[in-house]
């Protein structure tokens, strides 16, 4: 933990991360992103700008996609947090993770966890129906390698699978 000046206390916080309860004492200025990466070693959540401008740090909080760099950990007391590690493992990938690999929707891989968490959040929101909407609603997640068309393919693929499953 950061060694806080003596006048400042840490704050007790309970977070449920990837289905596991964590009772933590965190400094009030620690972001959710830094807590995940530095304290809990969940480094799958990436830091790309620390300003909410790139989306690399996207995680799901109570099922909703957020930029974890713009949230202080203490603001999320009691929340259910899903990071990329909680979606799947290399051996048992989430359908979105599988679709990303299949469509080569990643190159360097650094924006990928954020893209995938964002895409999972997007599908859950239920209002992306066309490719144009996918592109628009994924625009908070930058990919400098330029995998955008493949990311849109992957998200579209998962959406279609879900619609098919729902119809059956």
């Amino acid at each position: 933990m950061p060694s806080a000046p003596p006048s400042l206390q840490t704050v007790p916080v309970t977070l449920h991360i990837n289905g596991k309860r964590h009772d933590l004492d965190v400094a009030p200025w620690t972001t959710l992103l830094d807590l995940l990466r530095e304290e809990l070693k969940l480094t799958g959540t990436k830091k790309g700008c620390d300003h909410g401008q790139c989306g690399a740090c996207t995680v799901l909080v109570d099922g909703v996609r957020i930029n974890s760099c713009l949230s202080l950990a203490v603001m999320r007391n009691g929340a259910e947090i899903t990071t990329i590690e909680g979606l799947g493992t290399p051996e048992r990938m989430h359908p979105m993770q599988r679709a990303f690999v299949e469509h080569d929707a990643l190159q360097c891989g650094y924006c990928t966890p954020g893209q995938i968490c964002s895409a999972v959040g997007l599908v859950a929101e239920g209002h992306a129906e066309s490719r144009a909407e996918i592109r628009e609603l994924m625009s908070g997640n930058l990919c400098r390698c330029g995998a955008y068309t493949n990311i849109a393919d992957a998200v579209e693929d998962v959406l279609n699978q879900q619609q098919k499953a729902a119809a059956e």
């Binding site: 950061p2 620690t30 790309g48 190159q107 650094y110 400098r144 330029g146 955008y148």
Partner: protein, 757 residues
């Protein structure tokens, strides 16, 4: 050449490290840790030129007892003195910048202090409390004000060819020509902005050895730098870059996070991590601003009779950074009267650096815009003009080409795009409130082979390990090396484990210039050939072997057996050969390098034709790039999936270059104003519509031993011109100043000189 018909090479194998990346298990430079790890943060200079008078860190020390050390030029530990100790494999000539060396400020954002603390937050916040008092000089950062001070770099940068001598009588041919155009083109600074922040984690070993996780495009280049600068023995330093979150050239040279993290680790005898902020990364390196002039002349049939291309490019005060910018104009098309000139101008800025297709992306913007202008002046279709000037050899160097399937790129790209339906006049196509424009451009990049080694180990049970110090910066290196070994040894890709990105693995140059697949791929292929030779030697120890008369060219590895290619029955089990020799595995090294004899006669390039559709809102000036077709000739394609992604990435960065990307400097202060991803716009999902990547057939048995030419750069080459040309076709407005933002379109057809004035 690879000869196995059981194809792994050429198959669309999904990236083998994909599942690790997609599940967050691939660890990047800042994601290694150990208890007690210290964190660093830099204090960036807030002036672009001047001297440090005083650094006051009292407030920081009072507020943050977690501070372990504060380094400035006044207390920095000693490091190497000679310039050559600081010059890495890719350094340009000059005096390499040394962090915290003295009181001089050479560029905006230069680190003037380095704080090390017990947590990331404490280091960051303490750095913000450090006060620096400067003596300011007036900075010069505006290239357009420095054009008169251009000079030819006295010392050439290694690997960068200066312009060739003029040929023919270009000025006279220009004056006498049937049709001519001449125009000035401008490019502003662009930043690489890989998604991963630059970071180094140094783990300090009990014996004083260092394990360094660094964001770099070359673990061995970084390792040599550390050893040279800190006078360390090679075996005390291991640099690891197993996963690199993009770099695009910015990770070629060792960056100051490496120096500062290692310096603090050695001084404190502790493990230290320094992860830059996004803002810090705008102070590293960038594609330099350029002023270019292109003059073209043609005869009545549209055949070029004169080509002149002049460039003045920005560099820093302390290094002569050079790119190949104008040379492309002497080899892209047939022309006997050519003059190419290239100069530098010094600015108070950090040294620029290689950024995806350095030189070519910039130079081709000017040349290919000019070709478009000439096509209208000559009354010819832009594609037809290029076809009429096709050239099948390198006139700059008077060399044959190893291959050039550019005509196929033109033909097949145009067909996929539907180019024949294009109405020639500008403003002739529209839909609703949008004007539609179709533009195209040629792309060229050098196909290079670098010296490279690789080690391959084949176990009796069929498991294969490939090792090389090569890097995968998102390019697909892991996957293609696995495919090459799998095919040569006839195993599944899943049975190959690829170990790259570590300085103690077989020697490989930096990952850059599009040469890794050709170089490391050929080295792996050579190692596999050596394994086959070893197996044949073992087989031939047996006097009764069915292979006793065979040569290595006549045998193949199939299903765990070494056998005659023409006779499957003449076969020996590999496990049996190894058992007889008392081995459980065979390990061999392969090595490749450029063939000097061949290079005297042949030059090798990749080529592309890029076709672009834009839709421009007539009232708002808003541009959408709705379709791109990129037809590429790059020799053998090892993996269509990852190859396609390389081109997609190049095209997307090219669209950013065309429409969005500009590092804006306030020339009064010499400081960059938009040092964040909200104000420096890189393409986002919504900016990118359909991109069709097409590889034309191209056979090449000289570019590299495995017939590969490389793909990292060619995707961006020509894109910016194709977009500018499409915008002209849509609107009748010629913009010669990148990026083509709305204000420029609304201002209409003014030359950049007007704008600068």
């Amino acid at each position: 050449m690879l000869t196995n018909e059981r194809r792994q090479v050429g198959r669309a194998v999904p990236r083998i490290e994909g599942p690790l990346k997609a599940t967050g298990r691939a660890a990047y430079a800042a994601e290694h840790s150990e208890p007690g790890l210290l964190h660093g943060a830099a204090v960036p200079a807030t002036i672009a030129r001047g001297r440090i008078l005083e650094i006051d860190s009292r407030a920081a020390k009072v507020a943050f007892p977690g501070i372990v050390a504060i380094y400035t030029h006044e207390n920095r530990p000693d490091a190497a003195w000679l310039d050559r100790s600081w010059q890495d494999d890719t350094a340009p000539p000059g005096h390499t910048y040394r962090p915290l060396q003295n009181d001089r400020v050479l560029f905006d954002g230069q680190p003037v202090a380095f704080v090390v603390a017990d947590s990331f937050e404490n280091a960051r916040d303490a750095a913000a409390l450090i006060k620096v008092i400067y003596e300011r000089d007036v900075p010069e950062t505006d290239l357009s004000a420095k054009l008169a001070e251009r000079y030819e770099p006295p010392k050439k940068r290694n690997g960068i060819s200066p312009p060739p001598e003029p040929r023919g009588k270009p000025e006279q041919a220009f004056d006498e020509a049937h049709v001519t155009i001449s125009a000035d083109y401008f490019i502003e600074n662009e930043h690489h902005n890989p998604m991963e922040l630059f970071a180094t984690t140094v783990l300090y070993g009990e014996d004083g050895s260092l394990t360094v996780y660094d964001k770099t495009q070359g673990s061995q280049n970084a390792q040599k730098f550390v050893c040279n600068v800190f006078s360390l023995k090679q075996d005390k330093v291991t640099v690891i870059n197993a996963y690199v979150g993009g770099a695009f050239g910015s990770g070629l040279r060792p960056r100051h996070q490496l120096f500062l993290a290692v310096m603090a680790s050695l001084d404190l005898k502790r493990s230290v991590r320094f992860e830059m902020s996004r803002r810090d990364m705008f102070y590293l390196s960038y594609r330099p601003a350029m002023h270019q002039t292109v003059s073209l002349a043609a005869d009545a049939e549209g055949r070029l009779t004169a080509v002149m291309h002049d460039t003045v490019q920005a560099t820093s005060r302390y290094e002569d950074y050079q790119e190949v910018v104008v040379n492309w104009s002497g080899l892209a098309y047939r022309c006997d009267n050519v003059k190419l000139t290239y100069g530098l101008a010094k600015l108070d800025a950090a040294t620029p650096g290689d950024m995806r297709a350095p030189g070519a992306a910039s130079g081709l913007f000017a040349l290919e815009s000019a070709m478009d202008e000439l096509s209208y002046a000559a009354g010819l279709d832009p594609l037809e003009l290029r076809r009429r000037n096709f050239v099948h050899f390198d006139q700059n160097e008077n060399k044959q080409l190893t291959s050039k399937a550019l005509r196929a790129c033109y033909r097949e790209g145009a067909a996929r795009f539907g180019w024949e339906r294009r109405k020639p006049a500008p403003r002739a196509m529209r839909e609703g409130h949008e004007l539609i424009g179709w533009g195209m451009a040629t792309g060229i990049w050098e196909a290079q082979l670098q010296s490279a080694k690789a080690r391959v180990r084949l176990s009796a049970n069929g498991q294969v390990i490939v090792q090389a110090a090569a890097s995968d910066i998102g390019t697909g290196t892991y996957t293609i090396l696995a495919q090459i070994a799998a095919e040569a040894l006839d195993v599944l890709v899943e049975e190959v484990s690829v170990q790259i990105g570590q300085s103690d693995l077989p020697e490989t140059s930096v990952e850059g210039g599009s040469w890794t697949a050709a170089s490391s791929g050929s080295a792996v292929d050579a190692a596999c050939l050596a394994i086959r030779q070893r197996l044949l030697d073992l087989a031939q120890k047996d006097k009764a072997s069915p292979l006793k008369e065979a040569t290595v060219e006549e045998v193949v590895i199939r299903g765990g057996h070494l056998r005659l290619d023409v006779d499957p029955k003449a076969s020996v089990a590999i496990s049996e050969l190894m058992a007889r020799a008392g081995e459980t595995a065979i390990e061999e090294e392969g090595e490749v390098g450029p063939d000097a004899k061949q290079m005297k006669k042949f030059a090798s390039y990749t080529h592309s034709a890029c076709f672009v559709e834009v839709r421009v809102d007539e009232e708002l000036g808003l541009v959408r790039v709705t379709r791109v077709v990129s037809a590429v000739a790059a020799g053998r394609i090892l993996n269509p999936k990852t190859a396609r992604s390389q081109i997609l990435g190049g095209v997307v960065m090219g669209l950013g270059m065309s429409l969005h990307e500009e590092s804006m400097i306030d020339h009064r202060s010499g400081r960059i104003m938009n040092h964040n991803l909200a104000e420096y716009h890189v393409p986002a999902h919504a900016d990118i519509h359909d991109i069709d990547v097409h590889f034309v057939q191209e056979f090449d048995n000289k570019a590299s031993p495995i017939g590969v030419k490389g793909l990292g750069e060619i995707g961006i080459c020509g894109v910016a011109a194709a977009v500018a040309n499409a915008i002209f076709h849509a609107t009748g407005i010629r913009i010669r100043h990148l990026p083509i933002t709305i204000d420029k379109i609304l201002a209409g057809d003014k030359t950049p000189t007007d704008r600068a004035a």
